[in-house]
C-alpha cells in the first residue's frame, strides 16, 4: 500500500505538532539550566514538523503523477487479503485469549489457523501446529523457564511439565 507524500506529509506534521503539545505540558525542571522532560521532545517535534512540511511539498510537486493511495496486486486477490487478515487476526486472538486459554491452546489455534490459511492442507497443518506448539512449550516454558500462561490447563500443569 503506497500512500502519496501529499497525505503522509501532513500526518508527519500532525505527529510533530502532537509531540510539541505533549512536550509543552511536561513539568518544568527546578534545576539543570531549565532543560526538562519536554526539551528533547520539542526539538524532535520541530524536526518532524519541518520534515513533514518538506515531504508535503514533495508530494504537492509530484501530485500529477502519483495517486493518493495505490494498492499492490494483493488487494484484488481475496486469498491474499485473507492471508493478511488471518496473520493479524491470529496475533490479536493470541493477545486477547492467551491468558484465558493458556499458551498451549491459544498458541495452537493461532498457529493452526495461519498454517491452514497459507497451506490449505488441514491434516498437515494440524500435525505441524501440534508439534511446533509442543516444541515451543518445551523450549521456552520447560527449558528457559518463561512463564507462558497455563490458562484453562492450569489444573494439569504438573502433568504437562517435565521438570
Amino acid at each position: 500500500m503506497k500512500v502519496s507524500d501529499i497525505i503522509l506529509g501532513p500526518i508527519i506534521v500532525a505527529i510533530g505538532v502532537i509531540a510539541l503539545i505533549a512536550a509543552s505540558v511536561q513539568p518544568k525542571p527546578i534545576f539543570g539550566g531549565g532543560y526538562g522532560g519536554g526539551f528533547f521532545p520539542s526539538i524532535i517535534g520541530v524536526g518532524l514538523l519541518g520534515a513533514g512540511l518538506i515531504l508535503s511539498w514533495n508530494g504537492w510537486r509530484e501530485r500529477a503523477g502519483v495517486p493518493f493511495v495505490a494498492f499492490d496486486g494483493w488487494i484484488r486477490s481475496p486469498r491474499h487479503i485473507a492471508n493478511v487478515a488471518v496473520v493479524i487476526g491470529a496475533l490479536l486472538f493470541y493477545i486477547l485469549a492467551s491468558n484465558w486459554l493458556g499458551f498451549i491452546i491459544a498458541g495452537f489455534i493461532t498457529l493452526f489457523a495461519t498454517l491452514l490459511q497459507f497451506t490449505r492442507s488441514p491434516m498437515r497443518s494440524l500435525v505441524v501446529a501440534a508439534i511446533t506448539t509442543l516444541a515451543v512449550k518445551a523450549t521456552f516454558q520447560d527449558m528457559l523457564l518463561v512463564p507462558l500462561p497455563w490458562g484453562l490447563l492450569e489444573p494439569y500443569a504438573g502433568v504437562l511439565t517435565w521438570r
Binding site: 525542571p29 526538562g36 499492490d72 497459507f118
Partner: protein
C-alpha cells in the same frame, strides 16, 4: 596476552561452543532463505540469548550474523534472489556464472572470501578496538553527544531512498525512545497512563515486529512465486578455487580493506560495504566487458567486504556504545540487558568478556568454511523448505520471544504494532534502520546532552570548547547543512547556465 588466553578458555567452554555451533547453523538457515535477513536472524535469537551468560549470548549473535551474511550468497547464486540485502550487490553476476555452469566455483569463492574477510575484520577489531578505547577514555559527555549525533545523522543520510524519509524515520525512532521515565527527574513521559510503558517501549519486541512480523506480512501479501532453482548437482566447491582467488588477489584485498573501513562508519552496514567494493572493483576492472557479463572479480571483492564489515562494525559498538547499523544496535541492546554498559571502560571492567567476543568472531569465521560447505551441500533442501509452513512457525516463535522479554502481553502488542508500522514504512520508502538506531540511541543522546548542559550550566558553547568535541561538532553541523549547501550550489550553477 593473559587476558586473551583467559578469553580463549572461556570461549572454549563446551556450553559456549555448543551455543556457537547451534547459532551458526541457525544463522546459515535463516540467511539462506530469501526474505529472512541477517538482522531478523539476530532479532529472533535475542529472546533466547536473554537466558544465557553474556559471553555465549553475544557469541551466539556474532556467529549467527556472520553466517547469515555469508548464507545470503547461496540463494543469490542458485536462485538469483539475495538471501540477505548484503548479497544483493553481486547477485546478478553470481547468477550469470551459475547459468554458465560455474555455480560450484562461485559458491566456493563466496564461502572462502566471506571467511577470510570476516577473519581480517576480526583481527582489525582485536587490535584496533583497544587503541580506540584508550583514546575514548579521555572523551566526555560533550564528545559522546556529538558522536551520537554524527552516527544518527549518517544513518539517516546514508540509508537508501530519500534523505527526508530517512530523517523522519530517525525522528520517529527518537520520539519512541523518549517514552518512559524521564531520566533526570524520574517523571513519566508519554506513557499514556500505562505503567507498562514506564520502562520504555521494549527494544526486542520492536525489533521482532519490524524485522520478522513485517516480513511475515509481506509474505502473506506476496503474489510472486519463488523462481525455480538452477538444477544441478553441487560437487567439490573448492576445485580450482585457489588459482581464481590468486588471479583476483588485488580485488580480494581491496574488498577486505573497503569492508573493514566501512564497518565502523556510522550508518553503513554490510550491504553498503558490498555495494561500495563492488562498484570500486568495477571501476578499476581491466576488463569491464567481462566484468559486466558476470565474473568473479566483483564477487570476490564484495563477498569479502560484507563479512569484513560485520566484524569491524563492532569497534564503535563495543568501544563507544554507538552502533553503526541495526545489527550492532541489537548487540548493544543485549549488552545493556545483561547489565553491561558498552564503552571504553569495558576493557578494564570486563576484559575477558570483550576479548571473548572478539575471539568469537575468529571462531565463527573459521567455522564458516566447514559449516558453510555443509549448508551449500544441503542448499537444495534448505531452499525447498516451504515458506507457507515456515512463516507461521516463525510467527509463533516471535510471539513467545517477545513475551519472554518481560513476561507480559504488552510486548506482544508492541511487536504487532511495530510489525504493521515497519511494513507500512518500508512500503512507503521509509528506511527502518534509522528508526531502530533512534530507538537505541535516543536515551543516550538525551542523557549526554542534559549531562553536558548541567555541567556547562546552560552554556551551549561549551559543546565546542574541547578540541575533539569541537571538531566532531563542526563535522556534524556541516553534515546537517550539506543538503542546503548542495541545493544552493545547484541553484546558483543552474542560474549561471541559464545566463
Amino acid at each position: 596476552m593473559a587476558v586473551i588466553y583467559d578469553a580463549f578458555l572461556a570461549l572454549m567452554a563446551p556450553e559456549v561452543l555448543i551455543v556457537v555451533v547451534l547459532s551458526s547453523v541457525f544463522g546459515l538457515f535463516v540467511g539462506a532463505i530469501p526474505g529472512l535477513t541477517a538482522t531478523m536472524a539476530v532479532a529472533l535469537l535475542v529472546p533466547v540469548t536473554f537466558f544465557m551468560d553474556p559471553l555465549p549470548a553475544i557469541a551466539a549473535i556474532v556467529s549467527a550474523s556472520a553466517m547469515a551474511i555469508f548464507a545470503g550468497d547461496i540463494p543469490s547464486v542458485l536462485l538469483r534472489i539475495p538471501g540477505t540485502p548484503a548479497s544483493a550487490a553481486y547477485t546478478e553476476a553470481a547468477y550469470r556464472m551459475t547459468l554458465r555452469g560455474q555455480a560450484e566455483l562461485v559458491l566456493g569463492v563466496c564461502v572462502v572470501t566471506s571467511a577470510v574477510g570476516g577473519l581480517v575484520g576480526a583481527l582489525f577489531l582485536m587490535f584496533f578496538a583497544p587503541a580506540v578505547a584508550r583514546f575514548a577514555l579521555n572523551i566526555s559527555s560533550y564528545e559522546y553527544f556529538w558522536l551520537v549525533c554524527l552516527g544518527l545523522t549518517s544513518a539517516a543520510f546514508i540509508s537508501p531512498g530519500s534523505a527526508v524519509k530517512g530523517i523522519i524515520s530517525l525522528l520517529l525512532g527518537l520520539l519512541i525512545a523518549l517514552i518512559g521515565l524521564f531520566p533526570v527527574t524520574g517523571q513519566p513521559r508519554f506513557t499514556f497512563g500505562s505503567t507498562a510503558l514506564y520502562g520504555g517501549v521494549g527494544l526486542v519486541a520492536t525489533l521482532i515486529g519490524m524485522f520478522a512480523i513485517a516480513e511475515i506480512l509481506r509474505f502473506a501479501m506476496s503474489r510472486d512465486p519463488l523462481p525455480s532453482m538452477a538444477k544441478m548437482k553441487i560437487g567439490n566447491i573448492f576445485k580450482g578455487l585457489m588459482p581464481e582467488l590468486w588471479r583476483y588477489r588485488k580485488g580480494f584485498a581491496n574488498g577486505i580493506v573497503v569492508g573493514t573501513a566501512t564497518g565502523p562508519l556510522p550508518g553503513a552496514g554490510a550491504d553498503i560495504a558490498a555495494w561500495i567494493s563492488y562498484a570500486l572493483s568495477r571501476r578499476f576492472s581491466h576488463n569491464r566487458k567481462e566484468f559486466d557479463e558476470g565474473s568473479l572479480e566483483g564477487i570476490v571483492a564484495a563477498g569479502a567486504a560484507n563479512n569484513a564489515s560485520v566484524s569491524s562494525s563492532y569497534v564503535p559498538a563495543t568501544v563507544l556504545g554507538i552502533p553503526g547499523d541495526s545489527m550492532t544496535a541489537i548487540v548493544i541492546g543485549v549488552l545493556f540487558m545483561k547489565g553491561l554498559t558498552p564503552g571504553p571502560t569495558i576493557f578494564q571492567t570486563q576484559p575477558t568478556l570483550i576479548y571473548g567476543i572478539f575471539l568469537s568472531f575468529i571462531l565463527a569465521n573459521l567455522l564458516m568454511i566447514p559449516l558453510g560447505y555443509g549448508a551449500i551441500k544441503l542448499s537444495r533442501y534448505i531452499l525447498d523448505v516451504p515458506r507457507a509452513y515456515l512463516m507461521p512457525i516463525i510467527m509463533i516463535f516471535c510471539v513467545v520471544g517477545a513475551f519472554a522479554m518481560d513476561n507480559t502481553l504488552t510486548a506482544v502488542v508492541t511487536m504487532l504494532i511495530f510489525g504493521v508500522v515497519g511494513w507500512f514504512m518500508e512500503e512507503n520508502g521509509f528506511p527502518i534502520a534509522p528508526a531502530l538506531l533512534g530507538i537505541v540511541l535516543g536515551r543516550m543522546l538525551e542523557e549526554t546532552f542534559l549531562t553536558s548542559m548541567i555541567k556547562a550550566q546552560g552554556d551551549f558553547l561549551q559543546f565546542f570548547s574541547r578540541p575533539i568535541a569541537g571538531t566532531i561538532g563542526v563535522i556534524t553541523i556541516l553534515v546537517w547543512v550539506s543538503p542546503i549547501l548542495v541545493m544552493l550550489w545547484k541553484r546558483t550553477s543552474g542560474r549561471k547556465v541559464l545566463a
